[in-house]
Symmetry: D2
Subunit: 357 residues, 4 copies
């Protein structure tokens, strides 16, 4: 059952296919009187936009966000904000060749099995172009969170290349086209990715997202846990196959005495945690420490390397996916993951205000 909406109070609904006239979203639950203009959204869309380096898809989309409702004289009205993003650089003919073939690793085969429809034009509704709408919603979520909350993401692993955490520097992320926080690593990664791309192949990645300044007390036990909703948000992003919070899968190898973050008296008597294995969340509720999330992003399945598949008739065949694809999806997944985290936090900010405000 189609459920193209996310969130409980701060909610957005997305719509659109990669090769239709436009995509968009409707963002509901926004408090009134927040200053909002198109540029507030555009600046985040620009970070997600393809075609900005050779390391991302060469599709040329201006991705211009138009606010269609919900803003009056520069302020949010409390009513739904509809955002429209026109599709401009569509080349459906790129897909003619694979019209009846299922691309391995893609949703082609499952969509067809479920809906009996094969929209072969760039993935149709399954296209990662949908994530532009998420980024737009995320920009509004950030406005609700205010300047005290900072959300950022970095690619901390690309293929088998890992960063050196001693060199982790958030400022580096914007300085290289790979969203890599380690300046030294970034250089080698660029060469490695270039080679993979020229080989007609792609690389997986791990992206780390961090939110600082998150108020204490967001989340709720049992089915609206902050980490639960983050996991849901992240796993809803195209190509994500894993989510972890704080020490994540690493907790398996920790003793209880190592894992539980000890507490001391901090400034002004506030609690001070001596470590952050919890990733800023205990019992589903934020502790005030940075919320730390990592996601595993699979390598793009649209590659020039021939792969075995079948067609709609069930006949065996080979496939090469031409087109303008991302050699490493992790790069452009970073702003999308940031947006989803912003949406979850904004939602929980409103939820907390309702019950405990």
């Amino acid at each position: 059952m189609s459920y193209n909406n996310f969130g409980k109070l701060f909610r957005f609904t997305t719509w659109g296919e990669s090769h239709g006239p436009a995509i968009g979203c409707v963002v509901d639950g926004v408090p009134p009187k927040i200053p909002l203009e198109e540029q507030d959204i555009q600046k985040y869309l620009d970070r997600r936009r393809p075609g900005q380096s050779k390391h991302t898809s060469q599709r040329q989309e201006p991705d211009r966000a138009q606010i269609m409702s919900g803003v009056f004289e520069g302020l949010t009205t409390g009513h739904p904000i509809s955002i429209l993003i026109k599709n401009e650089d569509q080349r459906s003919k790129d897909y003619d060749e694979i019209k009846d073939k299922y691309r391995p690793g893609h949703a082609d085969i499952t969509y067809d099995a479920k809906y009996g429809i094969r929209d072969y034009r760039g993935g149709g509704r399954a296209s990662a172009r949908e994530t532009a709408a998420r980024v737009a919603a995320g920009a509004i979520a950030r406005k609700i969170l205010g300047k005290g909350v900072t959300i950022r993401a970095a690619m901390v692993q690309m293929g088998h290349h890992k960063i050196d955490r001693q060199r982790f520097n958030w400022a580096e992320v914007a300085r290289n086209p790979l969203a890599c926080p380690d300046a030294v690593a970034a250089e080698g990664w660029a060469a490695a990715l270039d080679k993979v791309r020229r080989d007609g192949n792609s690389l997986g990645a791990i992206v780390e997202i961090e939110a600082t300044g998150v108020p204490v007390g967001l989340g709720a036990p049992h089915y609206a846990k902050l980490d639960q909703d983050i996991a849901s948000a992240m796993m809803s992003i195209h190509a994500v196959k894993g989510v972890e919070i704080g020490a994540g899968f690493g907790v398996a190898e920790l003793l209880g005495s190592e894992n539980a973050d000890e507490i001391r008296r901090g400034k002004k008597g506030a609690p001070k945690f001596l470590s952050n294995n919890a990733g800023g969340i205990l019992g589903g509720i934020s502790t005030g420490q940075p919320v730390v999330v990592r996601i595993a992003v699979k390598p793009a399945s649209s590659i020039l390397t021939p792969r075995q598949t079948i067609d709609r008739e069930g006949q065996e065949t080979d496939i090469i996916t031409k087109g303008r694809h991302d050699p490493c999806i992790g790069i452009r997944a970073a702003p999308v993951a940031e947006a989803m985290l912003a949406c979850v936090l904004a939602d929980h900010l409103l939820l907390d205000k309702a019950q405990c405000g």
Copy 2:
């Protein structure tokens, strides 16, 4: 904001504290005329029940499920099924000593910050005892899924001890008290866990959950993806810090050509995948392959090793958590994770029937 319910159509609501008179759940959306008796639920509760070996909590709870509504003459009526599980072995006095201290790694501090209430009796609403209600709901979910779907879980890593996947045998899981699918490993693990327990410490774990026989077509793109809802379900379980599907975090190190599961013509013309990195889900929709999920379970924070903390007044102190705790939560997390996967699948079975049935 408290949201103690899970699911869209097949939904359950849980309630209760570890040291109140009872816990329970209300399961709604169950199709009518499904045979259901208390024993169908009890057999799963018995697997989760503490006190069955020295490797789990020594709390002695019969965990007897009473069906209070929704079943008439042995058949579900289509109306809500209320299940009551009395709390019998409560020893609130175990907690007197720590009444005003925050246990590191526990929800004590966040609950108190959010709600201004400190229910010190065994975690109150945060207690993992809540998972008994999930197991009860899961038992009903399995009835909806029918015998064609098999859901099972095994502990595949305990601390730094990993199984040998060549020896993976589902039949072993029930034969040892550690839910370990590798008979050889199980022996060493028992000794290791025993030592950790005697040391007043605890171990983390990785649990793998698998569902076979899942129909093709469950799930929906964008915000009701099958993997998204599984991630949400798993991360809602106490102590879980990571979730991955199929190749999971391993995808980071794969090339696109290695990751995308190739497709051939299988029996009766049905698609046959040559691998299962996708973990049975493409584009948020089930492929018919086994759904494979892994979760990271942190080591119990209730340990006898003294830890640094503060009390409600903000004063620094040390804490030892006596009581009857699990040296490795992973063991009892296995039936809970199975239950949550069953609930997600049953929900999506109904959702799919609604739109595409």
Copy 3:
């Protein structure tokens, strides 16, 4: 699809059949630290309780509410409050005779058509006994609203007998067993109802519910209008066939110049409306005037007068519904309608706080 829960943030889930072991509800979304004890709930249940005069059902149910969770040391914890009400005076044998017959005006025939199950014991899940759970939830809702909000209900019409609105006096409602606000009318009504009851028949009614002290600004345009949610709440009550707000159906006969409530400057500059045709709601949002609602309650279908019907086999037959039924459901509908209005207002209070607080 079974949906036994009501509300968006302040939510309750009800369960149970009239002839099972108990009925109950789980109330979620309650702010923490509100003083709550069983007596707070009991006093409203006592008003709804049958058997208090010859004008209501003679079933003898103590309807004792037990709080099973969500309250700690006399305060709400912010977690779900589970309330259990045992069924004590069950006489299933009263129903043996009609086991296979569909009672006209009852849900027997539609439940059986939909679910394929005939729970003949007093209506099963369709029983108005379910409304005890609503009253319990409403008692908690009132606690959230606080003492500034007063919610009360009166029966303003019984059969063709109408009150004289000049004699409307809320104080009278508790002084007669008919919840009639007109002392003079009440006397005649008692005799009339007595006659109808002795004739083995029943009477319809109109109940008026009013909430004063409702803060300005509750509700939201489009699909969470305060009047919309009130309409939903009221129509969800057994036997209700109509709902109106303010001037209600009377607006049909008004000119625009008569209907729109004019506004003047009131105390401290606050708006003062010169009339209340709007019933306290404009554009789905509360104005601060009294919220005024009226519901039409059908006459009980369980009567001693023989009626034509069919049985499960489709054979024509006659039916007399013995048992202990209400000659005028309107009387006991009054506290239920109050409870539902309280729940809607509490929900919208939290919703408003979330977005505009």
Copy 4:
């Protein structure tokens, strides 16, 4: 809290203001492979469109629906259908004069109190122009219901003028500009309405909506009752102040023996009801008889007759609302009410399929 979406499985979200660039809706949960083109929607929008006779607003809006997503090669895809309706005939200057005044009977004052924003351009989000989006959603709902279900509406009372039910003829509704099912009455009504309009005033109305061919078994007891969801849907429409089902408020004056619809054996053994006081719904579930609903529609508050009011500063003033308003909203409410009923029925069709299909 803003909740601009309606429905549980068949869901739509509306957005837009009367004087922004466009309004629209996103319709989700539509089964795949249903033939759908813009004309299917347009034909219903044309019925709601203003400016078609002197009896409705003279605003000239083509109200052209554009399908932006969710349809591929003429068939629904199972993904969200986004519909865009541009605003073309905006005359914001009509509103300059009343910019700071609250129109009595309008949402101006409550919106401003709640949101602190006064969008004076034709009501902003509160504008009845929003109902065009509902009509578009309703057109898609009808496609899901199929040709076996007929939904139609008629104005059965205008001011104090009532139809003669003996002359009720559905065919007449389209033959006069008043949606009146009584040809004789229609003539007198036209003259009466003309006079009221020339007097700068307006009339209230009662609209009756009927659905035939509704399958037995739609709806669910307790909080998803078919009549409950219909009441919610109808009361969500602008200007509606009352909703009734079947005999509605008339039940108050009926005896139990008169009200309960007796049952006989009908064709092929199916139940045959001897009357339809229930309005096609028993216990919240459809009986298969026609679903009969009536709504009370208040007279337009935008009139040329001067009314007393205050401005944003709280100063007393008078107001005349110029512009292009409807002398009797009931006329154009008819297609909107039909659309909302279609949406509720389509939603419950899917819900029923999920649990009992």
